[in-house]
């Protein structure tokens, strides 16, 4: 299991667009990808679950990847999050 913490940089939080970019990207990996936010665990492969969690701008989240391709999944997700998830 590998994980990394991030601060959400997107102005409107993880709403539709950035959530979609993230979900679409991590869905391709075999590993489970979870966002831990305020002690809640959210399936990062589901856009609706991410939106439903209302993760706001400036929040701290932890991305946890577990499975055969966990390193690759985390690396890819890190790159996307740090470059603003398409925003």
């Amino acid at each position: 299991m590998v994980s990394k913490k991030f601060v959400v940089q997107n102005e409107q939080g993880l709403h539709m667009r950035p959530a979609g970019v993230l979900a679409k990207a991590v869905t391709k990996f075999e590993s489970d990808v979870t966002i831990v936010y305020n002690d809640k665990k959210i399936n990062a492969k589901s856009l609706l679950n991410i939106i439903g969690a209302c993760i706001k701008y400036g929040s701290e989240i932890e991305l946890v990847c577990e499975g055969p391709d966990e390193e690759a999944a985390l690396a890819h997700a890190t790159e996307l999050i740090e470059s603003g998830l398409g925003e």
Binding site: Q9, H15, M16, R17, A23, L48, G52, C54, Y57, G58
Partner: protein
């Protein structure tokens, strides 16, 4: 006359076409062949994706990229594992028909979203409603109404405008929109504004009050709606509409043009913002930068001191969004009048003359001021940030802030963190004291920005919110005008930028005076940019100077105001 929420400016005059939600007639039934039902579902989703993709493409043209994205969002949502798995599971476990399964799953998620705290997430609930309706129509084989077929001069009336409805809009044919629900931030409002279609939302029962073919006049700014009005009302609004469209076209000419007088004297025209979410609006409205970025939002939206990190992200975002255009960020300007218990601000008898802004920050250096200044310095590596100090009354305060900044620069150097080594530090000129020592401050500040709102209040010793004395609160008072002129002159003498971020910068009566005084930078609200640019273009510098000379020889506020109004140009 009916009144709703004016959600998209403009006057709409036309004939009603009611968009009715068709009854979706189906019942929840038990099915026997689960695989067949799941195949029906999968096929319907394929059709949904295909149709929605086509709609999104056509929307890019009629409404723009951002609006078309709403439809792309629908595609992502229906393909989301959370929802698709739930629908299939219902078919498997409950043996119900696809229509019922879709309805239940969509309603479930819609309910979760509608209970969220923020508006943006709540709006996703209506997205799910739209997806549900359209997917079920596909399953039932029901045809969508052809919105594109509406004739020219149409006023659409509906309960709510769904993104798929608006995808069918032919904007040239649509004079206006009326709905029963919605507000300024709902889909309908956003789409209408980007298509520049006047809209009034939130008129209960409007779909039953009007009938197809009725003549409607609507005012998308005031929210007023007239149904089958008398000839006189109709004529009145036709004239208003013509005036509105003419004014709009006149302003459109100024997009992308330099901000200058008729004889080519160029100034900077920038915007005031209260948070990172307003930054894109600056560029959309053709602002040339940010003249005041108020940072209080970070502290207001929090129940503890915002971390350096979260502040850094906010400042960096704005610096990057503005793509190298200047961004003047004002350090924390807050006092006891705002109830923020975590800050430990005292309850005072005179909060506006009290422990606030820079005075407060200089006594809270370690836990409040340094984190903010460090965040600003770090963010300065990502754009063109300038730091501005609020409520300065003596040069000691400016020196103290600059000393802290020098210490932080040394810290960052030691840590190997990048920042703008030449970052400019300026003063917000908003007190009588600052105005009187403007020459002293100009020697040590990199720029001035005049906050006319507070400058007027402090100079006239009057509270604009107090009805008994509000009459004294006027920028046209000779005392205030002399302060402004003095401040700008001191800046010009030292060769530093003289800017203004108060309301007076956008005032067409003040603009010629400010130009005459030598103001270099005007910071206004994003929606005022084009109008301010237009006003400037109507005056030559000589004309401005002549007007200023006359105005400054007058002795009362009333005389000044009367003169400026008489000579006003628009």
């Amino acid at each position: 006359m009916y009144k709703g929420i004016g959600a998209s400016a403009g006057i709409g005059i036309g004939k009603v076409v009611i968009i009715k939600e068709q009854e979706l007639n189906y019942t929840k039934t038990t099915i026997t062949d689960k695989d067949a039902e799941k195949k029906r579902l999968a096929d319907a989703i394929d059709v949904f994706v295909e149709k929605t993709t086509a709609l999104a493409e056509s929307m890019k043209v009629t409404a723009g990229e951002a609006e078309a994205e709403i439809l792309q969002g629908h595609i992502m949502m229906i393909q989301d594992p959370a929802i698709s798995e739930q629908i299939e599971q219902k078919i498997d476990e409950e043996s119900i028909n696809a229509e019922a399964a879709v309805e239940e799953a969509c309603d479930f998620f819609a309910m979760i979203f509608s209970m969220a705290e923020d508006e943006l997430t709540q709006q996703r609930a209506s997205d799910l409603g739209d997806i549900k309706t359209r997917l079920i129509k596909i399953l039932l084989g029901v045809e969508e109404t052809d919105i594109g077929a509406a004739p020219a001069g149409t006023i659409f009336v509906a309960e709510d405008l769904t993104p798929s409805m608006t995808a069918g809009f032919v904007p040239e044919n649509i004079e206006g929109v009326l709905t029963e629900i919605g507000g300024k931030t709902s889909h309908s409002a956003i789409i209408c504004r980007s298509m520049e279609i006047p809209a009034v939302l939130s008129i209960p029962e409007i779909t039953t009050i009007v009938k197809d073919g009725d003549i409607v006049v609507l005012d998308g700014s005031t929210g007023e709606v007239y149904i089958n009005p008398e000839e006189s009302v109709l004529e009145e609004y036709k004239a208003k509409r013509d005036a509105y469209l003419e004014a709009k076209a006149a302003l459109a000419k100024f997009v992308g043009k330099p901000s200058q007088t008729a004889d080519g004297h160029v100034v900077e025209l920038v915007c005031n913002i209260g948070g990172p979410d307003e930054a894109p609006g600056v560029l959309e409205r053709d602002g040339e930068g940010v003249g005041l970025f108020r940072t209080e939002f970070l502290f207001m939206d929090s129940d503890s001191i915002p971390s350096e990190e979260s502040q850094f992200e906010a400042y960096k975002t704005v610096a990057e969004t503005l793509e190298g255009k200047p961004v003047i960020i004002r350090t924390l300007d807050i006092g006891g009048d705002k109830a923020l218990p975590y800050l430990g601000l005292p309850t005072e008898e005179n909060p506006f003359l009290g422990f606030r802004a820079v005075r407060f920050c200089l006594k809270r250096i370690d836990d409040i001021y340094k984190p903010q200044l460090r965040a600003l310095l770090r963010a300065s590596a990502y754009g063109k940030i300038r730091i501005m100090v609020p409520l300065v009354t003596c040069v000691d305060e400016l020196r103290a802030v600059k000393a802290i900044i020098e210490d932080l620069k040394a810290e960052l150097d030691a840590e190997g963190i990048a920042y703008d080594k030449d970052i400019k530090v300026g003063v917000m000129m908003e007190t009588a004291a600052a105005s009187l020592i403007a020459d002293i401050l100009a020697e040590e500040a990199d720029f001035f920005s005049i906050g006319t709102n507070d400058l007027t209040g402090y100079t006239m010793a009057a509270d604009r919110g107090n009805p008994d004395v509000a009459y004294l609160y006027s920028t046209y008072n000779p005392a205030v005008l002399r302060s402004i002129r003095n401040i700008i002159a001191a800046a010009n003498k030292e060769g530093i930028m003289a800017g203004m971020c108060g309301e007076a910068a956008a005032d067409p009566l003040m603009i010629p005076l400010l130009l005459a005084f030598g103001l270099n930078e005007f910071s206004v609200s994003a929606t005022s940019v084009l109008q301010a640019r237009k006003t400037m273009s109507l005056w030559t510098m000589d004309e401005c100077k002549a007007l200023a000379e006359e105005a400054m020889s007058l002795k009362t506020e009333a005389e000044v105001k009367a003169l400026l109004e008489e000579r006003a140009r628009s």
